[in-house]
C-alpha cells in the first residue's frame, strides 16, 4: 500500500487523465514520477486502464430496434386499429366478424350497447351523459365510457376507452396548452366512434371486463 504522501499525486494523476490539471500541478507530478517508482507504476496502470476502455468496439443495435420501439408505443389513432388489423389478419378477422354477427349474444348485447354506461368507480361524478373524474381523484385501473362523454380533472391510472363519446378536456391537446393541464391518463387512450370500431373492439377485447359496467340509470338512482 502506498503511503499518504503519494495520495496527492494519485489525485493529480486522475486530474491529468481527465484533462483538468493545473499546469503547476502537472509539473509537480512529472517531477515526482521521475523519482518515485511506485507512482510511476501506478500511473502506468491507470493509463493502461484508459487505453483498455477506449479500445472497446461499438456494439451494434439490432436492425429492427426502431420498428420494435415504435410498435410498443400506445396507439391514439382511432382508425388505425381496425385497418391494420384487417391488413395483417384478413381471413381471421373476416371469420371473427362473421362469427360475432352470427352470434345471438352479439345481437342481444347490441341493443344494450346504445345505453350510456361506464366502468364502476366510487370516486366519480355523473352529470347527464358525462362522467367526471374530479380533481384530486385517481381511478386505479382501466376505465370505459360508452355512449357518453368523460372529463378527467383528476387522473386515470390505466387505459381509457371511450365508445361513442369524447374526452371533453382533450381538445386542448394540440394547441399550445401543455398536455399536463388536461386529462391525465397513464395508459392508452382509445376513442371508438362508429359501430364498426365498436365491433372490432369487442373482438379484440373478447368481451372481457364488460360485465363490470353499470348504466347511467343505476348510478343516478
Amino acid at each position: 500500500m502506498m503511503g499518504a504522501c503519494h495520495e496527492n499525486y494519485i489525485e493529480f494523476m486522475h486530474a491529468y487523465l481527465d484533462g483538468d490539471i493545473q499546469p503547476e500541478q502537472e509539473q509537480e507530478l512529472k517531477n515526482h514520477l521521475k523519482s518515485c517508482e511506485a507512482c510511476q507504476a501506478h500511473m502506468h496502470e491507470l493509463s493502461d486502464v484508459v487505453a483498455f476502455m477506449k479500445s472497446a468496439q461499438p456494439v451494434t443495435a439490432p436492425p429492427d430496434l426502431t420498428a420494435n420501439i415504435m410498435a410498443s408505443l400506445p396507439k391514439r389513432n382511432v382508425t388505425a386499429g381496425p385497418q391494420s388489423w384487417f391488413r395483417r389478419y384478413p381471413i381471421v378477422t373476416a371469420a371473427a366478424v362473421f362469427l360475432v354477427f352470427m352470434s345471438a349474444m352479439f345481437f342481444g348485447n347490441f341493443s344494450d350497447d346504445q345505453q350510456f354506461a361506464f366502468t364502476k368507480a366510487d370516486n366519480i361524478i355523473v352529470e347527464g351523459d358525462t362522467v367526471i373524474v374530479p380533481e384530486g381523484e385517481v381511478i386505479q385501473g382501466d376505465f370505459m365510457v360508452r355512449n357518453g362523454d368523460i372529463r378527467v380533472d383528476g387522473a386515470i391510472e390505466g387505459n381509457l376507452t371511450v365508445i361513442n363519446g369524447q374526452i371533453l378536456n382533450e381538445k386542448e391537446i394540440g394547441n399550445n396548452e401543455p398536455l399536463a393541464s388536461t386529462a391525465v391518463v397513464t395508459g392508452e387512450i382509445e376513442e371508438i366512434d362508429r359501430v364498426f370500431d365498436w365491433l372490432w373492439f369487442k373482438i379484440k377485447s373478447g368481451y372481457q371486463g364488460l360485465e363490470d359496467w353499470i348504466t347511467g340509470d343505476e348510478k343516478s338512482e
Binding site: 487505453a51 483498455f52 415504435m70 391537446i173 394540440g174
Partner: protein, 196 residues
C-alpha cells in the same frame, strides 16, 4: 440537431406519432450501446432501450425543450439500467458496509466474489474482457465509466444525465478507474491477446 428534435417533439405532442420515429432513429444506437455496456446482455439491453423510449414518449409533455433531449433520454435509460442491476442482486441489505473492507459495500463484495480464475481470463478475447471488467464494477462507478469511455461524453453532460454534482462525477470516475486498475492487476491488459 436540437432544433429538428424539438420540432419533431412538437409534432408528436400535436398527435403525430410518426414524428417520433425520427427521434428514435437518432438515438437508438447510442442508447442501446449504453444499456448493453451497463447490463452486459443483448436481450436486456434491447428491453431497456425500448422501455426508455416508451417512457420518454408517455412523458414527452414534461420534457423541457430548453434542454437537450439526448441528456433526458440517457437519464431515463441509465435509471432503468441501474434499477435492473439492483433487482438482479440477491435480496439482502446491499448498502451495508462490510467490516474490515475499507468502506466497500456489499455490491463490490459480490462483484469480487464473481471473479474468474486466471486461466479463464487468459483465454478471453479483448472485447469480452472489456465487458467482463465493466460488469464487475459497482453500479455507481459503472454508469460514469460507461458514459465517459464508451460514449465519450463530457463530464458536465454526465453530471446532468446522472443528476449528480460535477465533483461527485469526478470522484466516481477516479474511483472507477482505481477499481478497474485493481481488478486488472490480476492480469495486466498488455497480456490480453495482444489484439490492440
Amino acid at each position: 440537431m436540437d432544433a429538428i428534435v424539438n420540432k419533431r417533439i412538437k409534432q408528436v405532442l400535436n398527435g403525430n406519432q410518426d414524428a417520433y420515429t425520427e427521434i428514435v432513429d437518432l438515438y437508438q444506437a447510442r442508447l442501446y450501446q449504453v444499456c448493453y455496456r451497463m447490463l452486459g446482455n443483448k436481450h436486456e439491453a434491447e428491453d431497456i432501450t425500448q422501455e426508455a423510449f416508451l417512457r420518454a414518449f408517455i412523458n414527452l409533455h414534461s420534457f423541457d425543450q430548453k434542454r437537450k433531449f439526448s441528456t433526458w433520454i440517457f437519464r431515463i435509460a441509465t435509471n432503468l439500467c441501474i434499477d435492473r442491476i439492483r433487482k438482479k442482486k440477491p435480496d439482502y441489505h446491499l448498502d451495508a458496509q462490510v467490516p474490515g473492507t475499507d468502506g466497500l459495500d456489499m455490491y463490490s463484495q459480490i462483484a469480487a466474489s464473481e471473479e474468474l480464475p486466471v486461466e479463464q481470463l487468459e483465454k478471453m478475447e479483448m472485447q469480452e474482457r472489456i465487458q467482463y471488467e465493466i460488469s464487475r464494477l459497482p453500479d455507481k462507478y459503472r454508469s460514469v465509466i460507461v458514459l465517459k469511455y464508451m460514449e465519450e461524453l463530457p463530464l458536465q453532460e454526465i453530471s446532468e444525465i446522472l443528476d449528480l454534482p460535477l465533483g461527485t462525477v469526478k470522484t466516481r470516475i477516479h474511483r472507477g478507474r482505481e477499481a478497474l486498475r485493481k481488478q486488472m492487476s490480476q492480469l495486466p491488459v498488455t497480456e490480453v491477446g495482444g489484439k490492440r
